[in-house]
Structures are given as structure tokens and as C-alpha cells.
Amino acid sequence: MNQMNELFLGIFLCSCLMLAVSSRLLHCIRIVALQGVLLGIMPVTLAIGHGDIHWSVMIINLSLKGIILPCLLYRTMLKAGVKRELEPVIGYSLSAGVVLALILFSFFISGRLSLPAGASDLAGLAVPCSFAVVMTGLFTVIARKKALTQVIGFLVFENGITLFGAAVMREHPLIVELGILLDVLVLVFIMGISVFQISREFSHIDADRLNSLKEEAR
């Protein structure tokens, strides 16, 4: 099933690229959902030949990241009434270039890391891919203005961490995984509520305008 995993990782990288170039929030949400579904399936394909399948992790990932969170985001999007990221901090062409640079950098850097002994045989590819996903997520948070896109970036960031864990650790630290999930869930809820509030108050959700809330220098 190594081929399957390789394909999944390839799709993961492509999804990062699509995230960087798509301006529609709906597309971004779909991409996150796709990543969630992939993360849900990956434990199965990874575990074939190794024994145990962590059904619990799989089901939680699939349901939470593949379905619940995207639905929440979609609902927030409808409520806030925004469909597009109109004026990104970094343009889409440049974003694609930056993502490429990030991918190259992650492959460069992970070739120089020593992996733990228990790493699976796919780790050579999965570690750089997960790095790339993590960095793309962070980049999305930096390069986009809308609060919703930033949440999406955060989710992608978390997906990268999960991917890293899934690929590197054969023994899944379930507790850690659940802890992160819980964090993200709370984050999305809070952001969902606050985005709604912000958009009701200010009729926009540009997070960078929150800058004006800072205390004036005297």
C-alpha cells in the first residue's frame, strides 16, 4: 500500500498548492475537508502490513476534520456573508511561488533531520510533506486577511501536525492527538462565534483591521 500512501501525500501537497491560489473561501473549505478525509483514511493504509488500525483516531479524524469542522466553517461563511478573499496580503501568483519554496525547503531540511527509530518506512516522504503542510498553513494565516481564511490556515497547520504524527509514530500517542484536536475544535468554535460577531459589528471580517483596536501611542 506504499503507492496509496505516496498518492495521498501527493494529493496533500497539491491541496496545499490549491489553498495558496484559490481566492474563494468555499474552495478553501473544501480543500480542508479533503485533507481531513485523507487524514482519516491514512491510518488504515498506513497500518496495512503493520497490524493495528487505530479505528478511534480514524473515526474522530474523519468525522471531525472531514465533516464537522468544514460544515462549521461553511456555516460561518454563510453567516458572515463573505465569499472571497479579495485583497490578500500576498498575491496569488507569489503565494504559489512561496508554497513551492516552502515545499523545497521542507524537503531540504527534512533530509538533514534524524528520525526516531520507530519511524515507518514512509517517513522519508511523509516528514517533508507534513512540514510543507504545516508551513503552508502558517503561511496562509500570514498571507490572508479574512479571519475565516486564517482559521482555515490554522486547520491546515494542525493537519500537518497530525500527518507528521501519523506517519512517524507507529505507536500513536492518542492522548496527544486528542488534545490537539480539542484545542482546534475550541479554536474554531471561538473563531466562528467571534467572526460572526465581528461581521455583525463591523460588516467585514478583515482581521488586520483589528489593529486599530490597539492602544494609541501617546
Partner: protein, 311 residues
Amino acid sequence: MNNSLPVFAVNFIAALVLAPLLPGIINKVKAFFAGRKGPRLFQLYSDLGKLLKKECVISSTSGGILRIAPAIQLTLTVLAALLLPMGFKNSPLMFPGDVLLFFYLLGTCRFFSVLAALDTGSSFEGMGAAREAFFSALAEAAVFAVLAFLVLFSHSWTLSGMLTGIGMDSWISFTPVLLVSLAMLLVMLAENCRVPFDDPETHLELTMIHEAMILDYSGADLGAILYTSSLKLWIFGSFIVSMLIPGNILSGWQETALSIGGVFASAVLVGIVESSMARYRFLKVPPLLISALVLAIVAMIFQLFFNGGIR
């Protein structure tokens, strides 16, 4: 491989003869999705026949480029087709590095089509020409990244070797091949001016690229241009098909059928893409072309890390 030359010849002639079918197929598919009947499958043949009989009107502004451009485009596209492996058989004219000649011949076609558009002095054609020059320069990056991947993958410098030499082995690790095919599909859509890069059926000159550039052709010249663009579609379809389908799994003539069927299938795919999405805003085209480049580079990374044995 004694019979490879006749198979190639038959395939080449089939490409020349059947190429005008591709726009027909695409239109049929689009009509199917739109619930219309659509133009006949052989519409372009009748159009070509009619155009050859029509009077030729040349812009009085033209300094002569407009007149010679169709001949250049037709000739160089046919020459490029001669370099492509057909029916999974190596081109008899292949030589190491021919892949560069292949893409540069297509590039020359584009250069002269841009010049001819500017030669008329029409603002619409200038608009189309500027867009074509811009987008094709970006597409070139993706094309050559794909080439770099193919060289890495097949260790061959000939187009035939790159495309037919891959064989069954390629499917042992198919992810890079899939990625690169996706990149090549994007390039194919861009180079042939299809949706999402350009809408060949729009009637608003402001939004066109290729169609805006050929506004001033008429008669036999227009026929040559239309035929050339259908042949170009065939060339790119055939490129992707030979890249994806490993040769030597069937006997000679079945392969021919497979390759021609594959090209038709690629036309159907283009039709499906066109029916399922709208043309992108021009601002969104460069990111898409850069994405094609990134896809090809990601494919290269996968290839290097897994099959090249380089760490």
C-alpha cells in the same frame, strides 16, 4: 520493431486527417452537458472545405506578416507532429534533444501568430496578442519543468524515448506520473486556449485570447489557422496519452487504435472540463500556470526522493 515505420506513418496520417474531429468532439460533449444537440461532429471539415473556396481579404494595414503567418504556423506544427511518437512507435526522425526542437517549433508558431495579430493594428488583436505572449511565457516554465521530470524519469533525451520508453515500470510509482500529467493537462488547456484559460466560444472580443488574434484572417488563411489549432490539440492530446499509457502491451495495430482512442478520450476530457467550469479571470490565470509549474516540480521531488535513490 520492423513494422514500426508503417505504424508510425499510419498514425501520423491519421493525426493529420482526424485532427479536425477533435473540436467537433469537444463541442459535442459540451452540447451534451448543456442539453443541446450541438454542431455536427464533422463540422470543422465542412468549414475547412468552405473556407478553401472563399475569397481572401487581407487587412490594408498589414505589412505582410499576416499573409505568411498561417503558412509558418501550419508548417512548423506539422514538423513538430513529426517528432512526436505516434501509436507508441518512435518517430523515425528522432534525435537526442528533439524535445527542445518540438517545443521551440510550437513557440515559433506562437511568436508569428502574435506578430500577425499585431500586424493588423487592431486593438482587439493587440489585446489578444499581449495576453497570449504573457501566458505562453509562463506556460513555458511549466512545460520545461515537465521536460526536466521526463528526462529524470526516462534517462532519455528524445521525445520518443521519454514518452514511449516509460513503459509499465512507470506505474509502479504512479504518483509523480499523475502529478506531471495534471501539469501537462493544464499546459495543454493553456496552449490550446481552452477553458479555464480562454473561452473559444465567447462572442465578446474583450475576453478572448486566441479568437481575438485571428479576427482578421479569412478564406484559406483562416482554414489553415483553424486546422493548425486542431492539429495542435491532437499533438498535446497525443503527448499526454503516450505519457500515461505504457506502450508494448498490445500488438501493433491495437496500439494504433488505443492511441487514437486515447486522443479522442482526451478531447472528451477537455469537453468535460469546459462544461464543468467557467473561464478564469485573467488575473487568475498566472497563478494557475504557476501551479502547473509547482505540480511538475513536486513530481520531480517525488521522483528524486523515491526512485532516484538520492537522499
